[in-house]
Amino acid sequence: MDELIYKLKQEIIEALNLEDMTPEDIDENASLFGEGLGLDSIDALELIVLMEKNYGIKLQDPTQGKEIFKSVKVMAEFIQKNRTK
């Protein structure tokens, strides 16, 4: 799981152009939106694309994102359970 969390942090940094951040800067338990990483709604769409492209997970209901994107750790747990690639 630690390996997946680290890889996911790298992918988030690349996909969202968080240029000044390193994986070490991201707290795996911190909120991705609001006060945590401060991502916005377009970033959420980009994370949905990331999950489909890299892990073959297609969210049928975009509102699921609210739960899945709570933190990097929650996202990684969801990916581990549902990935098809």
């Binding site: 969202l16 240029e19 377009i42 769409l45 694309v49």
Partner: protein, 184 residues
């Protein structure tokens, strides 16, 4: 109409009010160097496409040169920019995300901070300008035509000054900004 301050940026040159800035990078790296050395603290910069980055750093240099930035809301300043290539680079980038039917992942971010309107909007939002914002696509860098459009904007009695001028980009390594603050 008089020009109060001006900024010129090409792929290897930055001139603020007639004085060249000493910068070492070229192309898109030059825009990042301007951001890091003269602006900073605006991480949204890294999400912008080249056209938007160009407009953002050019307007920041322009407004820093004007001084007295207080970010108070104002309705007397408009933002009216012109170019030839519209959002060609953003369109090309977006197309590359949908070109291959086997690898079809349209990127939402490719349409954020990208379109020409977003450049003017970003400048207006950051600085709380509530005057007119327009991005006009014309055939070439035609000063007379731009001046005609700016003079029409001044017919609005609330508008006392305009951030205006040329802001064009074909790709990450080819761009030109020649913008100014013009007063009535």
């Amino acid at each position: 109409m008089t020009i109060q301050h001006s900024v010129y940026i090409s792929t290897d040159k930055v001139i603020v009010d007639g004085k060249a800035l000493e910068l070492t990078e070229k192309g898109s790296a030059l825009l990042t160097q301007i951001y890091r050395s003269h602006i900073g603290d605006y991480p949204k910069f890294f999400k912008m496409d080249t056209l938007c980055k160009l407009g953002f750093v050019a307007s920041e240099l322009l407004l820093n040169s004007e001084g007295n930035r207080n970010f108070e809301p104002r309705e007397d300043r408009a933002v009216i920019l012109f170019n030839r290539n519209a959002s060609l680079q953003a369109d090309t980038n977006y197309q590359s995300t949908i070109q291959d039917s086997e690898n079809f992942f349209p990127s939402p971010a490719a349409f954020v901070y990208t379109l020409p309107n977003i450049v003017t909007g970003e400048i207006a939002i950051r600085n709380k300008y509530y005057g007119e914002t327009s991005f006009i696509v014309i055939e070439e860098n035609d000063e007379k035509l731009m001046e005609q459009n700016l003079s029409v904007a001044f017919q609005d009695t609330d508008t006392k000054s305009i951030i205006g001028g040329w802001l064009d980009c074909t790709d990450e390594e080819h761009f030109e900004a020649n913008i100014f603050i013009m007063e009535k």
